[in-house]
């Protein structure tokens, strides 16, 4: 069986600085992988390289997404193939209504996949339903995307997008940052609803706290741009107790 995501020896740099240093990672359908690591280990870089953010140079290795060369695709193509990055800091886009954005994104993906576009009322119906589950005020959908939203609202909005777009692989970049415990619970519930046998997830986090709510199957420690240890969910608890110092030494 082809892995959902297969990263082999990935090396990447930005502005001449090497960040990813021969990273290997395989994620199968139905699995949730947590990637933990100290600041500067390359966690966000990994999420950006996977989603195709400009500015990163790939200097080695390869990434296969359902067997296809992910790195050869434009960001929009990756999204249409089913890759979704939940941003650590979702961007504000003044002048673009949230609902317009959601409809444009959904239909752009459907078009690219050769599926029929959905009508505005159909999109609205789906979005309303998901908004309700995530405790999002329907009025918010009329407002410009993320403009004036609180940290919690932004993360709930990311989760709403993820639920609407039904990706094959979700990459959650520090989803817990800036969230209080109530907001964290709502977002985690939203993510857990998306757990499915045909869907994989990579949960990137600095703290173990998020993993109390989104329980992973596999936990990896990322340090200096490589996976330095892999274990079960108990590894997260161990890290919480001992910190990252030992792995930083190991990588160096």
């Amino acid at each position: 069986m082809t892995a959902l995501l297969e990263i082999r020896g990935l090396k990447a740099e930005i502005d001449g600085r090497q960040i990813l240093n021969g990273l290997d990672l395989t994620v199968n359908k139905g699995e949730i992988h947590a990637i933990m690591g100290p600041n500067g280990a390359g966690k966000s870089t990994l999420s950006y390289v996977l989603s195709g953010k400009p500015g990163y140079e790939i200097t080695g290795g390869e990434v296969l997404f359902n067997g296809e060369d992910l790195l050869a695709m434009d960001p929009d193509e990756r999204a249409a193939k089913g890759l979704f990055l939940a941003f650590q800091y979702p961007l504000e886009i003044p002048g673009v209504a949230t609902l317009t954005f959601l409809r444009t994104a959904l239909n752009a993906q459907r078009r690219k996949r050769g599926e029929e576009e959905l009508s505005s009322p159909d999109v609205l119906k789906r979005v309303r339903e998901l908004a309700k589950q995530l405790n999002i005020d329907p009025e918010m959908l009329k407002r410009p995307l993320n403009v004036g939203f609180s940290g919690g609202e932004k993360k709930r909005n990311e989760t709403l997008q993820m639920a609407l777009l039904e990706p094959k692989l979700c990459v959650l970049d520090e989803t817990d940052s800036g969230l209080d415990i109530d907001a964290l619970r709502i977002v985690a519930d939203g993510v857990n609803r998306l757990r499915a046998s045909d869907r994989g997830m990579i949960v990137i986090t600095h703290y173990q706290r998020l993993l109390d709510y989104i329980v992973p199957d596999v936990v990896h420690v990322l340090s200096a741009g490589r996976i330095v240890k892999t274990g079960g969910k108990e590894l997260a608890l161990e890290l919480e107790a001992t910190g990252y110092a030992q792995y930083q030494n190991e990588a160096a």
Partner: protein
Amino acid sequence: MNAEIRPVKTAAEIGFADLFAAVRLSLPGGRDIEAVRRDAFDRFVAQGLPNSRVEAWKYTDLRRLVRDAKALAPRPDADAWTAARNAGAVFAGLDLRRLLIVDGAFVPELSDLAGLESGVRIRATAEALSADEMVLPLEMAGTDPAAALNTALAADGVVITVAADVAVERPIHLVFVTTGTVPAAMFTRSRLELGSGAALTLVETHEGPDQSDYQVNAALQINIADKARLDHIKITGEGTAALHIATLEASIGAGADYREFGFAAGGAVVRNQIFLKLAGEGTTASVHQASLLSGRQHADTTLVLDHVAAGSQSREVFKAVVDDEARAVFQGRITVRPGAQQTDARMMARALLLSDEAVANCKPELEIFADDVQCGHGTTTGALDDQLKFYLMARGIPEKEAEALLIQAFIGEVIDAVVREDLREALSRAMFAWLKGRE
């Protein structure tokens, strides 16, 4: 030393002098009007075509940009009528009272003059001039050389009057269209007199054939009496090689409300100069402008706004999207007179540059002679935000569509200022068409 050095006349300046000499006596109006024309032409001659050393024309050097003076367009014939019939299509399907000005001449036969609302009067400017009505002198733009040229040579246009307290439901659409293959010059003068408490929506579109370097010099004088309300929407379409110079002056009475909206996407060289006088107390005025420029287009919007009386409010938002090697110019000067206490004036100019060669020049000015006022201005110039673009693309939106969405968001704020939904939607469609053209 006070001697002014007068540069050698350009071919175009000599051409305008020859043109004026040739047509002066055949233009409509009796002796008094001819005197007004001569006086205006003298003012033009004294200044010549403005160049970049003239502050008001700093970024639009007509000495360089206007190479020759074209002959006046002939009166529209049957072919011109046929070509003009479907003009103003940007508002097709909307219930507007269409008045056609073809090659500079008002054509009643092509215009919708049936069932005029009581209190509304529409005439050709040529008719008013022939009756020796003093419709030519300009109040605020009088010394401007381009406006002076218009006063000297204006032959026709439309004169509209709306009686006091008449609210005209159906918008009036001035359809300016240039036809024909021989590039010519059109000098039009139009006038709107809005009685106290009256209300009107006036729409203006300008268009003509591509690749023809015809010259349009249009002026519109508006007088808004106390408590009247005017929405004015102007679309500068025009062909790809056209020169379009337009002067708008409006005097706005006490408690009146004036909303100006401009959309500029056509023409090779465009200058929209707007002179506003908030003459009475408690007046509100707003000017919103969207320019969408590409190729080597040059579009200049220059606003001179005068707060004369107390307690008035003005809002100006100018936005330009500039692609390729195009240039957008915005100059805005707000003056607050000593008597204009409690003035609330705000002006913002933003330019979005889509290519490395695109240029935007912004020059906002405030002159405040009253001490109890709130005034502010700001300008920004920048490119599309790559981070925002990536965010949209990461959600599956292709690059060009992501850019279009961001451009639309940028311009949307200005288009939202149009009150009537049907007109707003037509303008949105015009914006989409421009964005489609980029793909």
